[in-house]
């Protein structure tokens, strides 16, 4: 008896192998698509914006004339914004992560917090803008200030920081905690002196990545209503301000094509900041993160 028709199998095998090679090419091309788009995007922005990128670009304010436009107010505004967002979001994020990983009992409320955090991560940033406008700008009467925008941004990136910190804390092996308890340390002493030092590289990496999301975020700032043309730099956290992505948005919206090139120059600076922040995060991860 002959179960396998060898001729037929041989004939089919050829087409099956051709299909395999063909589709492999298609899959590789799809993967390449993302890389090519990124390359085009970066190339376009650099060639468009490099003409306007000069020392004066950093030291002058926004202007009605493209050649005189600069990002002095915007970049200082973004830096001030980060000075609010970084401590607030890390305090809340790391605190929540410690609570969930080290203290929380397995009950319905803990579960509710966890579900809530993952849902919060999916809320569009423009809705966070509405929250900031209503609660911080109007209800708490903070005005269109760095503090109001900073608190809004902190809540926006809070879920990212919580999840990253939770992972970092979870990666600390229980043996370390038990060793600390065995030495007579209390729970909080163990967290403060054993768990946190061991997880700080992971927490920092995640937090810097979250901050790099915040520094490029535009929609909440638009909704809060921060101005785009400012002729002064912020002098405190209650000061009104403008930020780099907001300035880019304003230049992009303008009908004059020259302003698109100015916007591209602003984007180069913004992307430069992001690359620096990401490099620091990767550096910390590679240099300090221990594997247990």
């Amino acid at each position: 008896m002959k179960f396998v028709n060898h001729e037929e199998v041989a004939a089919k095998t050829k087409t099956r192998l051709t299909k395999n090679t063909l589709l492999k090419g298609v899959f590789a091309a799809a993967t390449g698509f993302g890389l090519v788009v990124l390359a085009i995007l970066l190339y376009r922005i650099v060639t468009q914006g490099s003409d306007y990128l000069s020392f004066e670009f950093f030291t002058s304010f926004a202007s009605r004339i493209p050649e005189n436009s600069g990002i002095k107010a915007a970049i200082l505004g973004s830096v001030y914004l980060m000075l609010v967002v970084a401590p607030v979001s890390m305090f809340l994020g790391v605190g929540t992560a410690i609570y969930l990983e080290e203290y929380a009992k397995r009950n319905k409320f803990t579960n509710f917090i966890k579900v809530n955090i993952s849902n919060l991560a999916g809320v569009p940033s423009v809705v966070f803008g509405l929250l900031g406008l209503t609660i911080f700008v109007r209800f708490f009467d903070l005005g269109i200030s760095i503090l109001a925008a900073g608190l809004t941004m902190s809540l926006l990136i809070l879920p990212i920081i919580i999840v990253a910190s939770q992972e970092a804390i979870r990666a600390v092996p229980n043996e370390l905690r038990e060793a600390s308890f065995a030495m007579g340390a209390t729970r909080w002493q163990t967290i403060l002196r054993v768990v946190l030092p061991a997880s700080i590289p992971g927490i920092l990496t995640g937090s810097i990545l979250a901050l790099s999301r915040a520094i490029g975020e535009t929609a909440p700032l638009v909704v809060i209503g921060i101005p785009t043309i400012l002729m002064f730099t912020p002098d405190g956290i209650m000061s009104t301000f403008t930020a780099l992505p907001m300035q880019i948005f304003d230049w992009t919206k303008r009908p004059q094509v020259e302003f698109h090139d100015v916007a591209a120059a602003g984007i180069i600076v913004l992307m430069g900041l992001l690359i620096i922040m990401n490099s620091i995060a990767v550096f910390i991860r590679n240099k300090y993160q221990k594997r247990y």
Partner: protein, 314 residues
């Protein structure tokens, strides 16, 4: 043994002394409470969002008929004589962008995931994944700029009837933005399919393609669908790309070559303009924001449901 005894006692005494110290015991009790309060901030944020949206939306509906809002096909809030608030044109605008984005992102994203999970060597994977992460980290305002100044001119040179502001260009770019999300989440789902299943198919003489399509894809389907639903949610909530490149003409039709407006872009239009606090237009952004919030919340919960309910455990 006799030599050790005094030492043991002193350690025990030390522990007893330490744990009785008032301050230490006090902090031990206080810290969990403080941390609990901190953890409640995320819950308060959600309550704040829901409360804000509902409260201001209710104010809006005291001035505008709710049924007219939900079923109206005309959205002209800036009309001088009789402003109309029917949200369907904004919903249609959002769906156009989301539909185009999904058409772009799902095939490319899943193909990328298959390549990375099934075909690529470790070295290639380690090279490509960080680049995709960079693509995911590009601020959306930069994508908006890219749509307006690069993709739109290309589309117009191919098909001159396309307006400067249109649904096609931002739709494609939103699609590009969500490719990394679909690719990386789907790749995670595919990588967690156990190798034993692949080996079984190989032993029967299957090609890599057959293994990928007939074994790995079905096994990872729940993860892939969940990633797509999450990506849809992202596309619905995307703001800056559409605010820059899609225009501000809400219309109740399925044309993608002309100017449109999405829910998110309307909120941006009102908040960048000078609609005063307390006007009907001001409250309308909350009604639109609430609709948007419900759309994305439904998608996120659907994604969670799919990945929980249909996950195949190996």
């Amino acid at each position: 043994m006799a030599m050790n005894e005094p030492q043991q006692i002193s350690v025990q005494e030390l522990i007893a002394q330490k744990s009785n110290r008032g301050l230490l015991a006090f902090t031990e009790k206080l810290i969990p409470k403080i941390l609990f309060l901190i953890a409640s901030v995320s819950v308060l944020t959600t309550i704040g969002i829901v409360f804000t949206l509902i409260f201001e939306t209710v104010t809006f509906f005291t001035e505008v008929n709710i049924f007219g809002f939900l079923t109206g096909t005309e959205w002209y809030p800036f009309a001088n004589s009789t402003p109309t608030y029917g949200i369907l044109p904004l919903v249609v605008g959002t769906l156009k962008i989301t539909g185009i984005a999904i058409l772009v992102a799902v095939p490319i994203g899943i193909a990328t995931a298959i390549f990375l999970s099934e075909y690529a060597s470790d070295r290639v994977r380690r090279f490509i994944k960080p680049i995709l992460e960079v693509l995911a980290g590009v601020p959306t305002i930069v994508y908006g700029f890219f749509a307006l100044t690069f993709v739109t001119p290309i589309l117009r040179s191919i098909y001159p009837d396309i307006a400067i502001f249109n649904a096609l260009s931002p739709g494609i770019v939103v699609g590009i933005m969500i490719i990394p999300m679909i690719a990386s989440l789907s790749e995670d789902a595919m990588s967690s399919v156990p190798n034993a299943m692949r080996d079984g198919a190989y032993a029967l003489g299957a090609t890599k393609l057959e293994v990928a399509v007939k074994i790995v894809l079905p096994a990872a389907l729940s993860g892939i669908v969940a990633s797509t639903v999450l990506a849809i949610s992202r596309a619905i909530g995307e703001t800056m790309i559409v605010a820059v490149a899609a225009g501000s003409t809400p219309g109740f039709n399925w044309d993608v070559t002309g100017s449109i407006q999405t829910m998110t872009a309307y909120i941006v239009q009102v908040t960048t303009g000078d609609a005063g606090y307390g006007t009907t237009i001001y409250y309308s952004i909350y009604a639109v924001g609430f609709t948007l919030f419900l759309f994305t919340l439904a998608m996120n919960m659907l994604a969670q449901f799919i990945s929980k309910r249909f996950r195949e455990e190996y």
